[in-house]
Amino acid sequence: MKLDAVTLEILNNKVAAITEEMCLTLQRTGRTLYVKETADFACALAGLDGRFFAYPRSIGVSGFVGLECGPTIEAVERTAGPLAPGDVILTNDPYRSVGLATHLPDLQLIEPYFHDGRIVAYGWCFVHCSDVGGRVPSSISPLNSEIFQEGLRIPPVKLLRGGVLNPEVKLFLDANSRTPEANFGDIRAMLAALGAGRRRVEQVIAQHGAETLLDAQTDLVAFAEAKARAVLRRIPEGTYRFSDYLDDDAATALPVRLALALTIADGTVTLDFTGSDPQVATAMNIPSHGRPHAWLTLRVLALVHTLDKTVPLNAGLLGPVSIIAPKGSIVNPQEPAATGVRHAAAIRVNDLLNGAFGLALPAVMPAASSGTVIPVVVAEPLPQGGRNVQVVEPMIGGTGAREGHDGVDGRDSGISNLANNPVETVEAELGVEVLRYALRPDSGGAGRWRGGCGMELTFRIETDGASVLGRGMERLLFRPWGRAGARPGAPGALIINRGRPDERHLGKIDMLSVAAGDTVTFLTPGAGGWGDPLLRDVEAVRRDVENGFVSVAAARADYGVVLVDGAVDVAATKALRAAAVAEPRDVDFGPEREAWDAAFSPEFMGRLNLRLLEAPLEARQRMRREVLERVLATLPEGFPRRPAAPAAADAARRTLEAALAE
C-alpha cells in the first residue's frame, strides 16, 4: 500500500460517497420510471486502467462492479483522437464496448476527469432508457434473434466535445427512438451526475493532492482484492461441478443448459462454463467476451460481501476470478447474437454459481431461490384510441433456505431488488381488480429449513380487448432445487379463470389476449429447502401451519408432523417420522429434472456441447435442435413432466450416443 492507514480509509470513504452522490444526483434529476422507481442505473469512478475503483453501495444497480471502461475509451481514442477536458463518451453496443454495455437500452456515458492537463480518473454512469428503436416498443423482446432487431447500436462516440454537445450524434439518437425526449432527459441526468462526480474529484484533489487520489485508486483495488482472497481462502480447494437448465429459450420448447466447473485454489476462483449450450437464437445471450463479467460473477461478489461486509466495492473483488467461457456459447455469444433479455439467463447463472459454491460451502450457501422475475403487464385499449400499458406487479418468489435458516417468503434480491406496485395505484390507473396478491402456501421446498414461499397474483380484467404479458416466466418446468436432503420448491404456473368451469392452465406466454371478466393467476415458484424435512423442529412446523405457510396435509406428507386442531399429536408424529423412508439427495432437482437427466445425462450433454463447439457458429443451434428433437421423438408425450420408462430412457441415451458419433 502506498498510502497510510488513515489517508487510505478517508479516501476509501470519500470515493465511494462520490459515486453515491452521483447516483443521488442522477435519481433526483432523472424523470423516467427506470430511474425513479426501479433504479435501473448506476454511477462509478474508474481508474486510469478503466476499471472501477469506487462503486455505490446503497443505490442503483448493484452488480456492475466488474464492468470495464477500457475498451470503450480505446475505441474512441482510435477513431476520434485523444480525450480532452469536457469530452463525454456515449455507447450502448455490447460488442463494440466489449461488454461495458450488455444490452442496447443501457446508455453508457464516460467522462475523463482532468487535473493539470492529465486524466486522473473517469466518471461512468448508465441508465436503462425507455426505447432505442428496434422491432418492439421498449426495444427488448425475448424473441429477437439478432441484435439488429434490438434497436440503434451506438458505437463508442464522443457525445460531448469540450463540453459541447455533438448535434449529429443527437440527431441519430432522436431519429432512432420512440421516446427521444425521455431518452435525452436521461442523458441530461447522467451529465448532471458526471458533473457532480467531477466537482467532488476536484475537491478531493484540492484537499489531498492528485498523487494521493491516484495512489488511492490502486491501493483500494489491492485492498479489496486482498480481502476477497482472504474470504475465498476459507473455501476448501477443489473443483465443483454443477449444471442447471432454463425451461426453454422462449422460441422453442427445448431446455437450455448451463454448466459450470468451479475451481478453488489458493484464494482464486476459476469459473469454467464449458458444457453450456451454444448461443441461442433468442435474446438471452450474455455478452461476457470471456471476461469475468458482471453477469457471470454476481454470486462471487455477493459471497465475498456476505462473508466480509466491510470490503469496499471495486474491481479488486474480481481480481481473484478468472473465466473460461467458450466462444459462441450462451455465456460468450458472438456478433450478431441478441442480448436484450440477458438477465433471464443471468438469473440461472446465479443459481449455477450458487449450486457450485454450495458443494464447497454447504453451510454458507442457500438452496436455489425461486429464480424468476416476471413483470406482469396489462395492455388495454383506451376509449379515445391507443393503449394503456402498465405493470401490474413485478412477480418474484422467495429465497432458498440455508443451514440454520428458513428462506425468505415472497422476496428475492438475487438478481434485482425491485419494489412492487401498490395495488391501489394499479387499480387507479388500469382496468383491473386485483383479487389476490399473496404468498403461496406449500410452495416453499420442504426441508429442515424451509424454502421461501412463492407468490400468487390473481386479477380480473375489466376491459375487452386487453392483453397480458408475462415475460420472464421461468421454473415452470424445472424446479428450484433443494439442498442436503430437502425438497425443491413448487414450480410456477399460469391459470386463467381458476376455479371456474372455463379454467385453463397455460405455460409460458409472451402476449395473451383476454376478455373482460377473465381472471388471470400467476403462481411463482417456491424456493428450495435445506436439510431433511423429517428433522425439522416440530414446533416450527406447527407454527408454519398456524401461520398458513404450510397446510395440515403438507405438514403430514412432507414433514411427518401430525396436527389435530392446531396441536401436535406427538405420538402420531413420532410414529410417522420413524416409519418414513428417507431418500435424501444432496441436491434435489425435482422429478422433471430427474426424468430429463435419465435420458439426457449431464455427461452426454457436456460432450454434445463440446462437439457443437467444433461446428460452425451458425449451424450449432440447428444441429442441437435436430439431435434433441430426434431423441425427444422417442420419449412419451409430456416428457419430462411425464418420466420415460427405464427402457425408453436407455433407448434415448443410445440415440443420443449415436447422434454424437455422427
Partner: protein, 688 residues
C-alpha cells in the same frame, strides 16, 4: 383544563437514554432555566416527576405556577424497534392477508444473501381477512353482511388481542366505510380498540397506510398507560397545567390526541431539537441551516431553509417505512461512543460499533477497553478530563491515551505514547469527519442543495466539540453554537406549536371541471383541522394552515411535493407545480395535463415565541486558562474560556476552547468565534 398554555411558566422536557432534560421558560422576564436529571428507563415518568420537583424547588416556583408542560418521549419508538408493543391483530380485505409479509417486496441488501427481511408487526396467524372492499373511486364493491361481521368478530375474540388495525383496499377513497366497519366489529369483539387505516391516514398505498394503523395500534396501549400514570403523578404533585406531547412533525399535540394517535409522536425527540435550531437561526438572522446533533452513538443532520425544516414523507422506523410527515433527520455517522479500530488488512476505522453508555469510552473507567471518539477528544486536549459534566464525572485521560497508542501501534506508528496516541486520535477524527462530510454531501445532493450556502448548527453533547472540524472538512463557512447546546431537544419542546397533518388522496387531472374538487378537499381538510385545533386549544385562538399537494404531469412515474399558498385557484396551483418542476428539472411543460395526487394540510396553533434572554456585552473576556491541543501534527497552545464568561461582542481567535457544563466548543486555528446578543457563538473562517 382551566389554564391555557402561556399563562404560567412553560417547561419543555426531553427524555433521553442517559438524562432527562428540562428547560423552563418564564414569560414574565424571558428567563430560561436548564436542568438535568438521570433518566429512569424502566419507568421514564419517575425521572420526569422527580426532576420537575427539583427544578421547581430550585427556581422557587410552585406547582400552580406551571402554565404548560411540553413533553417528548421515545417510549413508542423503542417499543417498535425492540418489537415490544401490544399483541395486535389486523383485519384486511380478502386476498391481502400477506400485506405485511410482502410489504414493498424489497430486501434490505442486494449483496448480502444472509440478510433477512424485517419481522412483521403482526404475525400471519393474527391477520383476519374480511369480505370488504372498494374500488378506486371509493365505491363499495363488497360489504360484509351480518354473518361475515360475526365470523370476523369471533375470530378476533379467539385471538385474545390488546388492540387491532383494519384496512380495506381503496379505503383511503372513502374513510367512512372503515369507520362503520370498525364500530360494528368492535361492538361484537368485546369493545376491542380497532384503528382504521383510512381514518388515521387516508393516503393511497395500502401497505404504507396499513403500517401507520398497525404502528398506532401497536404502541397505543403502552402509551395510554404511560400518559395515564404521568397525569396521575402530576395531579398528585398539584400540577394541573395542560400536558402537551411533542410530535414527529416538529409540533405538539394535547395528551388526549397523543394517546389516540401515538404514531404521530414516535420521532418527536430529534424533531424537537431541529425545531429549536430553526427558531434560534431565525432569531439570529441566519437563513439556511444544517443542524448537527452528535450524541453518544451517532450523529444526525437536518436541513432547514427559511423558517421551516425539511419534512420527509418516507422515513425508516426499525426497518419499516413510515409515510407520515416528519422532520427529515438523516444519520451521518459516528457519535462520541463510536469505537476506533484497525481492519485486519490495516485500515484505521471508526464505528459503526459503539461502546454506548456501557461500557462506554475507555476514559469512563466503566470497563471499556476499546478507544472511542470521546477518548480522542480527551487525548487531543479538546475536553478537560476534570471538567466533564461540570466536573461530576472525572475522566481517565491516561487510559484513553494508552488505548489509542495501542491502536496507533497496530497501524505502524512509532514514538512516545503521547505522540502516537495524539496522531492516532487526530487520524481517527479525520476518518470520522470525512465520513460525516461525505454523508452530508449525499443528503444535500438528494435535495439539490449546496452546503456552502448554509450555517452548521451543532447541538447534543459532542456537537459543539466536533462542529468546527466538520465545517472545515465540508467547506461550510459558518457555525452557530447555541448557548444551551446540551439540552436542545427540551428547548425545542418548550417552544413547540400545536400541529397535526391531514391528507386526502385525489388522483385526478387538474382541469376546469375538477378544480372545485380540489378546493372542496382543502376546505374539508381545513374544517377537520379547525375542529382538531378547537378541541386541543380552545376556540378562537390564532391558527394557520399550511397546504401542499403531490403533483405530476400526466404519464410521469413520480410525483413532486409542492407547497401551496392561500390561493387555491387552478392556475395558481398549476403554476406552483410548474415552478417547482422547473427548479428541480430545469424545464416546464406548458402543454401537459397536470395531475393532483395527495393533498396535504397542516393545522398549526402557534405557541407564543419563547423570549430570548439578552446577554451582557463583554468585548474582551478573560480566559480561565491555557491548554495544549493537538492540531495538524503538532501541539499548540489554546486559550480556554468559560462559556458563562463570554458576553455579546466577545471575539475569540482560534485555537480556543469554550467550556460549559454539558459540552465543550472547539475553535480551530484559522477560525474566529464571535458571541451575539443572544449568546450564540458564531464561528467563521478568518480572512486568508
Amino acid at each position: 383544563m382551566d389554564q391555557l398554555p402561556g399563562a404560567g411558566v412553560r417547561i419543555g422536557i426531553d427524555v433521553g437514554g442517559t438524562f432527562t432534560d428540562f428547560v423552563l421558560s418564564d414569560p414574565r422576564d424571558g428567563r430560561l432555566a436548564f436542568f438535568k436529571e438521570p433518566s429512569t428507563p424502566d419507568d421514564p415518568s419517575r425521572a420526569l416527576l422527580v426532576g420537575l420537583n427539583a427544578l421547581l424547588e430550585r427556581e422557587g416556583l410552585r406547582a400552580t405556577d406551571v402554565g404548560a408542560l411540553m413533553h417528548g418521549t421515545t417510549i413508542g419508538l423503542n417499543a417498535i424497534i425492540q418489537r415490544r408493543g401490544a399483541r395486535i391483530g389486523l383485519i384486511v380485505t380478502r386476498g391481502f392477508r400477506d400485506i405485511l409479509e410482502i410489504a414493498r417486496s424489497r430486501m434490505p441488501s442486494s449483496f448480502d444473501f444472509h440478510a433477512t427481511k424485517e419481522a412483521p408487526l403482526v404475525p400471519r396467524a393474527r391477520i383476519v381477512e374480511i369480505g370488504a372492499r372498494l374500488n378506486a373511486r371509493g365505491e363499495v364493491t363488497e360489504a360484509p353482511d351480518a354473518d361475515e361481521i360475526a365470523r370476523v368478530a369471533a375470530a378476533l375474540r379467539a385471538l385474545d388481542l390488546d388492540a387491532a388495525a383494519l384496512v380495506t383496499v381503496n379505503g383511503y377513497a372513502n374513510p367512512a366505510f372503515e369507520l362503520d366497519l370498525c364500530q360494528a366489529l368492535s361492538q361484537q369483539a368485546g369493545g376491542l380498540d380497532i384503528t382504521s387505516a383510512a381514518a388515521i391516514w387516508p393516503e393511497i398505498r395500502e401497505y404504507e397506510r396499513t403500517l401507520v394503523a398497525c404502528l398506532n395500534a401497536y404502541i397505543q396501549p403502552l402509551m395510554q398507560r404511560y400518559f395515564d400514570g404521568l397525569l396521575a403523578g402530576l395531579a398528585e404533585r398539584g400540577v394541573g397545567a395542560p400536558l402537551l406531547v411533542t410530535a414527529s412533525n416538529g409540533g405538539s399535540l394535547s395528551v388526549g390526541s397523543a394517546a389516540a394517535r401515538p404514531v404521530d409522536t414516535i420521532l418527536s425527540g430529534p424533531a424537537s431539537g431541529v425545531m429549536a435550531a430553526v427558531r434560534l437561526a431565525k432569531a439570529a438572522g441566519t437563513a439556511g441551516i444544517i443542524t448537527f446533533d452528535m450524541g453518544g452513538t451517532s450523529s444526525d443532520i437536518a436541513v432547514a431553509t427559511g423558517d421551516t425544516p425539511e419534512l420527509a414523507t418516507r422515513t425508516d422506523i426499525g426497518g419499516l417505512p413510515l409515510v407520515l410527515p416528519v422532520v427529515d433527520v438523516s444519520a451521518i455517522g459516528a457519535g462520541g461512543g463510536s469505537i476506533v479500530w484497525v481492519d485486519p488488512h490495516g485500515l484505521l476505522k471508526v464505528g459503526p460499533q459503539s461502546a454506548g453508555a456501557a461500557p462506554g469510552p475507555v476514559s469512563y473507567r466503566r470497563g471499556g477497553t476499546e478507544p472511542t471518539v470521546t477518548d480522542c477528544y480527551l487525548t487531543l486536549g479538546y475536553v478537560d478530563p476534570a471538567g466533564f459534566l461540570g466536573g461530576r464525572m472525572p475522566l481517565d485521560a491516561d487510559a484513553a491515551r494508552q488505548a489509542l497508542a495501542r491502536v496507533g501501534a497496530a497501524i505502524g506508528l512509532e514514538g512516545s505514547v503521547e505522540d502516537v496516541a495524539a496522531v492516532t486520535a487526530d487520524g481517527a477524527l479525520a476518518v470520522t469527519t470525512a465520513g460525516m462530510a461525505s454523508a452530508l454531501y449525499k443528503t444535500l445532493a438528494e435535495r439539490g442543495l449546496d452546503p456552502r450556502g448554509f450555517a452548521l448548527l451543532p447541538f447534543g453533547g459532542a456537537g459543539p466539540t466536533h462542529a468546527n472540524r466538520l465545517a472545515e472538512e465540508a467547506d461550510i463557512p459558518h457555525v452557530v453554537i447555541p448557548p444551551a447546546a446540551g439540552t436542545f431537544c427540551a428547548l425545542g419542546a418548550a417552544g413547540a406549536d400545536l400541529r397535526r397533518d391531514f391528507v386526502r388522496s385525489l388522483r385526478m387531472p387538474l382541469t376546469e371541471e375538477t378544480a372545485p374538487v380540489l378546493a372542496e378537499a382543502f376546505a374539508a381538510l381545513e374544517a377537520e383541522g379547525g375542529l382538531w385545533l378547537d378541541a386541543e386549544d380552545g376556540v378562537g385562538k390564532p391558527r394557520r394552515f399550511a397546504r401542499g399537494a403531490d403533483m405530476r404531469y400526466r404519464g410521469q412515474a413520480y410525483e413532486l411535493r409542492v407547497n401551496l399558498g392561500e390561493d387555491l385557484d387552478r392556475a395558481a396551483v398549476i403554476e406552483a407545480f410548474q415552478r417547482e418542476h422547473e427548479r428541480i428539472y430545469g424545464f416546464r411543460d406548458g402543454e401537459a395535463v397536470v395531475e393532483v395526487g395527495t393533498v396535504r394540510l397542516a393545522a398549526i396553533g402557534p405557541t407564543p415565541p419563547l423570549q430570548t434572554p439578552v446577554v451582557a456585552e463583554r468585548p474582551a473576556p478573560e480566559p480561565k486558562g491555557v491548554r495544549r491541543i493537538f492540531h495538524k501534527g503538532a501541539w499548540t497552545e489554546a486559550m480556554v474560556f468559560d462559556r458563562a464568561a463570554l458576553g455579546a461582542g466577545s471575539v475569540l481567535t482560534g485555537p480556543a476552547v469554550v467550556e460549559q457544563d454539558d459540552t465543550t466548543s472547539i475553535v480551530l486555528p484559522g477560525w474566529t468565534a464571535i458571541t451575539d446578543l443572544a449568546g450564540n457563538l458564531h464561528l467563521q473562517r478568518q480572512a486568508q
